[in-house]
């Protein structure tokens, strides 16, 4: 499955990129599993996900939970809790 993964704010700074196109294994089917798969790739993903508390996720621009299913071609974003307004 192919995904476009985006990072924002402090998470983007720590990972050192704002986007990446990824080919993920078939057993990575949810947001939670994607987060675990990214973390096991090692630095900088592991340290970034460890340093930013309560990382949030969105799938196709809608807020998601760890249980949210992924689909081929999805846009998945990870970011810190929001601080607008």
């Amino acid at each position: 499955m192919k995904l476009c993964v985006l990072y924002f704010a402090r998470l983007r700074d720590l990972i050192g990129r704002s986007a990446e196109e990824l080919e993920i294994p078939a057993d990575v089917a949810t947001v939670g599993q994607l987060r675990a798969w990214l973390t096991q790739r090692g630095a900088p993903w592991s340290s970034a996900f460890e340093q930013v508390r309560s990382v949030r996720a969105a799938v196709d621009q809608a807020m998601a939970t760890d249980a949210t299913a992924l689909r081929d071609g999805a846009e998945v974003a990870f970011f810190p809790p929001v601080t607008g307004g």
């Binding site: 402090r10 807020m63 974003a77 929001v82």
Partner: protein
């Protein structure tokens, strides 16, 4: 219902006049303006940089407006949020609600800014004399949003 994300500052008077238009049904407009403080958690703030998630921001704000419309009798809403560099004391966000009666406008305006604070993908980076850092989310913002669960009045 208008949602705008922009770099440039806005004129509250002109925005409210635009929202009001010539609609004779509007009996009340409530508005909220969020400003950049020059002091946050004891530090002098030299400026803010606001980042957002283009596309998702507009969708999230539109969804928040739809939730407000389901709860209150609203005639129109306006949300303007700035991104990019913002100097201390400048305006960051405008939320304005037009309705027939004041209670719908007041309550919906507060609801919109409370939900915007926790659900819209914006992030603030603060510059201080010691360097710049990302602003941490506040638990009080989550509590303000949670307080709306089950709170009336609803339509």
């Amino acid at each position: 219902m208008t949602v705008r994300v922009q770099q440039q500052d806005f004129d509250v008077g002109a925005e409210l006049a635009g929202l009001r238009g010539a609609n004779p049904r509007i009996g009340a407009i409530a508005s909220f303006v969020g400003l950049a403080r020059d002091l946050n958690e004891g530090r002098d703030v030299l400026g803010l940089t606001l980042e957002h998630y283009p596309g998702m921001t507009e969708r999230a704000l539109g969804e928040i407006v739809e939730q407000a419309r389901r709860r209150w009798d609203l005639i129109d809403c306006l949300i303007v949020h700035r991104v990019g560099h913002i100097a201390p004391l400048e305006q960051i966000v405008l939320v304005a609600v037009a309705s027939m009666h004041r209670h719908d406008a007041f309550d919906a305006c507060r609801f919109l800014i409370d939900y915007l604070k926790t659900d819209a993908p914006f992030w603030k980076k603060e510059s201080t004399r010691d360097g710049s850092h990302w602003v941490e989310a506040r638990a009080s913002d989550d509590q303000a949003r949670a307080a709306w669960h089950g709170a009336g009045p609803r339509k």
